[in-house]
């Protein structure tokens, strides 16, 4: 496939890895923000090619993993309501709430549907005027424009049976949270390329300067990631604090401005609770008051929800890069992708799932 396979060429990747080895003189800790990058690293075994001096820690950039338990429990309650069609991205179906998941709701008779695009949910609403259609609008800056677009369209179409359960999270506030933590070990960042494709990377220079960490906008193919690491190492080794772009075939400084406009039209900033981490100030988006009519939380008053997280799960520490999956006592035993205790094991972008799927040998050799 053109413009994909080229970035998976072994020789090119090994060439960049050799450059990294030449450039590095001491140990560095680098965090890749995005779960898609974590998976690419494990899937291609990129970590096996890196010099020992580089420690990659895995960031909180998996939208499925960080969606709060309260909101998942709300989703389960709404999806169980008679007369509701609950539409969701596929990944969310397996995420456990307090005791059950959307699969269980579907097995108990709930009408839960997997959609490939939020616009499909809108179409379902048009086709089923007698039902209430709720879309689980989760994700980072990447999914926000399309999610927002459905709200604009629903308003234009005067659809009274469509609403969204919103849990949007943003990357820059999470980076602030990680870097200002007293236990932070991260010295350089690979910024999430697809988030930057939408938002640009103009928000990053102040972060780099404030915390003294270089940031490199990085893509998702093996060559992209190797290149992102190389550029980070170059800056670290030369004491340079800056933001660079290793994904210029997709990302510009300004980002996708029409998409940003749609986001700003529909959403407004809010504090957001991240599963396993806690509330991060101004890290989320919620619907603006003029779109309240499409807010599923207002349309379906669920009442107080009591949540219960598994005491075994250390997803929070994993999402902050403080621990790695093999350090969890439940990993691979009580917690597996088919019976996950925590969200990091659930999502195809979750860190635990990546380790479980591609690198179980690492875990088995861990004493």
């Amino acid at each position: 496939m053109k413009y994909v396979q080229e970035y998976r060429e072994g020789e090119l990747v090994r060439g960049v890895m050799a450059e990294i080895r030449r450039a590095i003189t001491r140990p560095w800790v680098i965090m890749e923000i995005c779960g898609g990058q974590t998976h690419a690293i494990m899937r291609y075994g990129l970590d096996q090619l890196l010099p020992n001096e580089i420690e990659l820690v895995h960031g909180p950039g998996c939208p499925v993993c960080v969606t709060s338990l309260e909101l998942i429990d709300k989703a389960l309650a709404i999806a169980s309501t008679p007369g509701v069609i609950f539409a969701s991205y596929g990944d969310m179906l397996r995420v456990p709430g307090s005791g059950r998941d959307l699969f269980s709701v579907r097995a108990s008779g709930g009408d839960v549907r997997v959609v490939y695009s939020p616009l499909d949910a809108l179409r379902i609403a048009q086709q089923n005027p007698e039902k209430q259609v709720v879309f689980f609008a989760i994700g980072f800056e990447t999914t926000a424009p399309a999610n927002a677009m459905t709200v604009l369209q629903a308003k234009a179409l005067e659809l009274s049976n469509y609403s969204v359960l919103v849990s949007h999270v943003r990357v820059p506030p999470a980076m602030h949270a990680i870097l200002s933590s007293p236990s932070n070990r991260v010295q350089g960042f690979l910024a999430a390329g697809h988030v930057c494709a939408v938002m640009g990377y103009w928000e990053y220079p102040p972060i780099a300067q404030k915390y003294g960490v270089p940031i490199v906008v990085t893509g998702f193919e093996p060559l992209d990631i190797a290149q992102g690491i190389l550029m980070t190492i170059h800056m670290l080794e030369h004491g340079k604090i800056d933001v660079d772009n290793a994904y210029s075939r997709v990302v510009t400084l300004e980002g996708n401005q029409p998409a940003q406009k749609v986001i700003n039209q529909v959403f407004t900033e809010c504090d957001q609770k991240w599963r396993g981490i806690g509330v991060i100030p101004a890290s989320g988006w919620r619907l603006r008051p003029e779109f309240e009519a499409f807010d599923a939380e207002l349309r379906f008053p669920i009442g107080e929800i009591k949540t219960g997280e598994s005491p075994l799960c250390i997803a929070g520490q994993i999402l902050q890069g403080m621990k790695k999956p093999p350090q969890c006592s439940a990993f691979g035993g009580a917690c597996t992708p088919e019976h996950p205790l925590g969200a990091t094991m659930v999502s195809s972008e979750g860190t635990c799932a990546a380790y479980y799927r591609y690198a179980l040998d690492k875990i088995e050799s861990t004493p």
Binding site: E9, G10, Y44, V115, F140, T336, P337, E338, E349
Partner: protein
Amino acid sequence: MSESRLPTLEGAVCPVPLSHKDLIVLGHGSGGKLSHDLITSMFLPAFDNPALRAGDDAGLVQPNACTQLAISTDSHVVWPLFFPGGDIGRLAVCGTVNDVSMLGANPLYLSAGFILEEGLEVDVLKKIISSMQAAASEAGIQIVAGDTKVVQKGKADGLFINTTGVGLIQPGLEIGGALARPGDVVILSGSIGDHGIAVLAARGELGFETDVHSDVAPLNHLVASILEVSDGVHVLRDPTRGGLATSLNEIAHQSGVCITIDEDSIPVKPAVLAVCEMLGFDPLYVANEGKLIAIVAQEDAETILSTMRKQPYGEGATIIGDVKESPQGRVLMKTRIGTTRIVDMLAGEMLPRIC
């Protein structure tokens, strides 16, 4: 079949008890780990016998000293009923013919049970029956028993078909999932993922079109051609639900060996790869209905390969890896960039990624 050779169907880690789930979910039918959990915790203890415990696509039974039979059954619930390259009728015949063939048996007879939904158009049924007839005649088998039930509207998705097949195994022939040996070569009969992607695209939910056709086909003639030129065939398996990755994991477990494959050698059509990239699927886990894995003695590999390539359903045959002693029960893949990673079974349902 000796007791010592009987493997378990357990996954790569301790299987977690099903008591966590009180309800059957779709993932239990995915052919991946949840299905295996269900089999090992519910069906096996109840129906336990050596044929079932072998964990192969068909059960091997020996009613008398000189007769070995392979018996397999499969229910088909595919939706939509018609898709590019096939339909539920062709699938129902080929699926069972192939399962029987994977023990090296010559499939002879099929039964067919139909569950029809009230309101199904008779013309649709007619088309499906004619497709079954064509597939049966291509495979050279007869459908000798049948059953029809009609359920109320809404209780079935148009129609479901169950087929059961019986085949005869030549005396002395031993082929099964537990017989892979270190040093063996792993051959794949052609490109992977065609069926799964064709059916997914036919549902019309993707928002884009592809020209991918299902590979659904009877593989018994291909199997017969292989057995004619070699007695070094140890394992045959058609990687259906759960895909190539899940089938290889099953074999690695059953045989207590490590299977290593080379990412670059696995054929995937560009259109299949493109859809997988867009949805976040790995072609290794996408279903096939006309492909087989043959694990064979190294010295026979080239002969088998050239024989397969002369057959219509084996033209794309290629060597994708080999069998090693350890780590037992594992499938490892040499990636395109020269590293090694684990290839695990499919966990539950395959889900499109969020972004």
